[in-house]
């Protein structure tokens, strides 16, 4: 197993009396693509901005490549490409000028690779930043984050405002970074994107990290649904107590049941086989459904989820 390139240890930050993040601990290995999920105001941006030394933590530590993010911020920023959540740049410079400026501040970049990125995202670098659409502004910020081939990419909602084609292009760029052994730490609301690109996911809620696991692991703990239509009404109690059944709902006057499942469906299949089955459908929720369910309980993560880390 490779050493962690990002280490966050009991990081705590508040804004005056307002909660930012509380005791967030996390390790990301080199070469990982890590998705950071959470609703608005959960603390994703606060965590990222502390890593970037834009905020100073009240307690705890954040390290990138073993270097303290606050004490060694300049050294760390040589390794990092960063996309802020709300990019704001000089509106009077063109996209090309902005990219050149940041390239100079980084000590120079490979111009052919820069041009390749510009072509790839179809950015017109001759227009002033203030004349760009939201998506094009995002492209400028994405290109400046990738253009020096950083060892670590820290991306705060990077695809916000991009059209689906450019989102696909972005997915490709992240995959290439991963294949090159680089690390990507991205926050997102677009769960399908996280599902596609990330190897591990962390979920933050109310400033606390409530879940870290592989994308596949998250799916393992998710509930799924089975709907069975019978030729005649069946007693619902038959299914309620079975192993793996978390909930039962009667449909079509009792001739169909919808089962919320957790774990193996073996007992359900065997019980259903005692009656004439018309149809059986299983619905596997997306990561988005898992995510939404994770937040539907008011203030507490569901026990079965909280227990699996």
């Amino acid at each position: 197993m490779t050493a962690p390139i990002i280490e966050i240890d009991k990081l705590t930050k508040s804004y005056g009396g307002r909660r930012g993040i509380v005791d967030v601990s996390l390790q990301i290995r080199e070469g990982e693509v890590f998705g950071f999920l959470g609703p608005n105001g959960a603390g994703k941006t606060t965590t990222i901005r502390i890593l970037m030394a834009l905020l100073r933590a009240d307690r705890g530590a954040a390290r990138v490549a073993g270097l303290d993010s606050w004490q060694k911020s300049v050294d760390i920023k040589r390794l990092i490409g960063y996309v802020p959540g709300e990019p704001s740049l000089d509106p009077n410079l063109t996209g090309g000028q902005l990219l050149e400026y940041f390239a100079h501040l980084r000590g120079g970049v490979d111009q052919s690779y820069l041009k390749q990125l510009i072509e790839r995202l179809e950015l017109d670098p001759g227009r002033k930043f203030r004349h760009y659409s939201t998506g094009n502004k995002r492209k400028v910020v994405l290109i400046q984050a990738f253009m020096h081939r950083p060892r670590v990419l820290i991306l705060d909602e990077p695809t916000s405002g991009l059209d689906p084609l450019n989102q696909q292009e972005f997915d490709g760029m992240v995959r290439e970074a991963r294949d090159d052994g680089r690390t990507v730490f991205l926050s997102s609301h677009v769960l399908s994107e996280v599902e596609k690109t990330c190897t591990r996911v962390g979920i933050i809620r109310d400033g606390r990290l409530v879940r870290v696991g592989g994308v596949a692991e998250l799916k393992d703990i998710k509930r799924y649904e089975i709907t069975i239509h019978f030729a005649q009404p069946v007693p619902i109690e038959t299914f309620a107590q079975l192993e793996g059944v978390a909930g039962v709902e009667k449909l079509a006057n009792g001739s169909a049941v919808r089962l919320a499942m957790q774990g193996s469906a073996d007992a359900v299949i065997k019980a259903a086989a005692r009656y004439p089955v018309v149809s059986l459908t299983s619905y596997e929720p997306s990561l988005e459904d898992v995510f939404l369910r994770f937040y539907e309980s008011d203030g507490k993560a569901p026990q079965e989820v909280a227990g699996v880390v």
Partner: protein
């Protein structure tokens, strides 16, 4: 209540400027009324000031300037026009600023028409100006009563309203120009430039014969037709109606354009240049470092401020030469002359004394320039424009010092060009100025400008850009009052030392005073050091 309509919400947004400008100008008039009786105590003093008036007619019409109301109107005839700066800033931002921030989209998504939204906003601005005018009028009246100056409440309120009207005109110009510019800053800059042009146009007829028609092109001319504080002069209702009409017409055109154009767009769209994909790298010199980028950002303002400051200095040299004989006889023979000489720092043996007095305005202007640039730094940090810069391997200290170094370069440039312009003007007019002292007078402005900038940088460590700018502007105003009203009010030396202008002194007469200069340099260095200490530790854009 304040959030029940666009009108009330906008009025609420203006509450600080209403109070700030209203109280500031009101107290200014109160201070003038308190100081003037002492200045006009003797018949000789009154006679000398009456005689001095025509020599400075270019500045303002000298009418009954041996009375408190006449003196206040004359002395602050132009100075009070700074009040127009607020409506210029506010109305350039009223629509364009909201469009830049994207908040106009949200506002117009509500079930209210564009016309109604903009009318409510304009109405709020006019209400704010009226409230400010009333505040100025009431405070001026109270100040007059306290100092036993015979001025009626109607006169002081009319004075305030006249100020509100000229402010409304420039606000309306800013609102109109903002329909043609894609940035509020550009609209504000153009309108401020127009304010300067109109002030000069108004002056023309007082300096050059048979040019009244030129001055009539300026709204400032119609503002100056009303002098409610001058006993027996009153106000010109026609001129006030004309100013009101002008602001209504200009605002009306702005509203008409706004309801028809694209939100975020401009009225006359320039054709965009074709894409220059092959133009990378651009090879622009200004993109090579934070310092050079800062230099490019400050370049254009530096050009305009240099024109203003160096132009003013050269003009002063020419004016002093033209009025040489009258000024000498006036100042030598009056008590007031003694006070003026005290403020100027010398005797009337040479024109240098008069120039020394007038040169005090140069550091004031340079410090105002520094205020605008400190505001830009604070706004860049507040708006998140430093975020990606700070994500590159640049230290925070390096970024701050890079920007401050660019500002330092700009202030040095302005001062050096002022020195060059003044030298040329003095050699053309034949006014003999000590070369070393002239160098001292122009270059010792630099530490004052840097002091203001450093204080602005320091305060931006805690305060928003708006509050930071307001505070350092207020500080500048306080220093100005201390140095220009303090001696007249016989304030102790310890109080006068609280003003940075005290340490500027009269370098045109006495050269550099190393100890005084050191005070400013040390103060600026301490403020910059503290500002740097704060910046490298603070949360960015929070």
């Amino acid at each position: 209540m304040w959030f029940s309509s666009v009108y009330l919400k906008t009025l609420r947004d203006f509450r600080v400027p209403i109070l700030g400008w209203g109280l500031g100008l009101g107290f200014l008039m109160t201070a003038v009324f308190a100081a003037v009786p002492a200045l006009l105590a003797t018949p000789a003093a009154r006679a000398s000031i009456v005689a001095l008036g025509p020599s400075f007619a270019w500045f303002a019409d000298p009418i009954k300037i041996d009375t408190p109301g006449g003196y206040a109107t004359w002395k602050y005839g132009l100075t009070v026009l700074v009040v127009a700066l607020w409506p210029i800033l506010a109305q350039s931002a009223m629509l364009r600023g909201e469009e830049e921030r994207g908040t106009m989209d949200v506002l117009l998504s509500l079930p209210r028409g564009r016309f109604r939204v903009v009318i409510e906003k304009v109405a709020a601005m006019w209400s704010a100006l009226v409230l400010m005018a009333v505040l100025v009028g009431l405070l001026a009246f109270a100040g007059a009563r306290k100092s036993n100056v015979d001025i009626s409440l109607v006169a002081t309120i009319a004075y305030g309203l006249n100020l509100a009207l000229i402010s409304a005109v420039f606000g309306a110009i800013a609102l109109l120009l903002a329909q043609f510019t894609s940035e509020r800053r550009a609209a504000a800059g153009w309108t401020a430039g127009l304010l300067l042009v109109f002030v000069v146009l108004d002056m023309v007829h007082r300096v050059v014969p048979n040019t009244l028609w030129v001055s009539r092109l300026s709204p400032v001319y119609y503002f100056n037709l009303s002098k409610p504080l001058v006993p027996g002069y009153g106000f010109d209702a026609g001129a006030m109606v004309l100013l009101l009409g002008l602001s209504i017409v200009l605002s009306g055109i702005a509203v008409w354009l706004f309801v028809r154009r694209d939100i975020g767009g401009v009225v006359l769209t320039r054709r965009e240049r074709p894409a220059v994909r092959a133009a990378l790298p651009a090879g622009d010199w200004s993109l090579r470092s934070v310092y050079l980028r800062g230099l490019a950002m400050v370049a254009m303002p530096t050009v305009w401020w240099t024109l203003g400051i160096a132009g003013f200095a050269a003009w002063m040299v020419i004016v002093v030469k033209q009025t040489e004989a009258q000024l000498k006889s006036l100042l030598q023979g009056s008590a007031l002359g003694g006070d003026i000489l005290k403020a100027g720092g010398g005797d009337v043996a040479t024109n240098t004394t008069i120039l020394s007095l007038l040169f005090v305005f140069l550091p004031l202007m340079l410090m105002a320039f520094a205020v605008t640039q400190a505001n830009r730094w604070a706004a860049d940090e507040e708006d998140g424009r430093l975020e990606i810069v700070l994500s590159t391997p640049q230290s925070r200290l390096g970024v701050l010092l890079g920007r401050f170094a660019a500002l330092t370069t700009a202030t040095v440039t302005i001062s050096v060009l002022t020195l060059a312009t003044t030298s040329v003007a003095s050699s053309i007019t034949g006014i003999a100025l000590d070369g070393g002292n002239l160098v001292a007078a122009t270059l010792s402005m630099i530490p004052l400008g840097l002091l203001v900038a450093a204080i602005g940088y320091l305060l931006s460590g805690w305060l928003s850009a708006a509050v930071d700018t307001g505070l350092i502007s207020f500080l500048l105003l306080i220093w100005f009052f201390i140095s220009f009203l303090g001696p007249g009010l016989s304030w102790p030396d310890a109080s006068l030392r609280l003003s940075a202008f005290y340490y500027y002194g009269a370098p045109l007469l006495h050269g550099v005073q190393p100890a005084d200069l050191a005070v400013i340099v040390v103060a600026a260095a301490v403020a910059l050091a503290l500002g740097s200490y704060r910046f490298v530790r603070k949360d960015i854009a929070v």
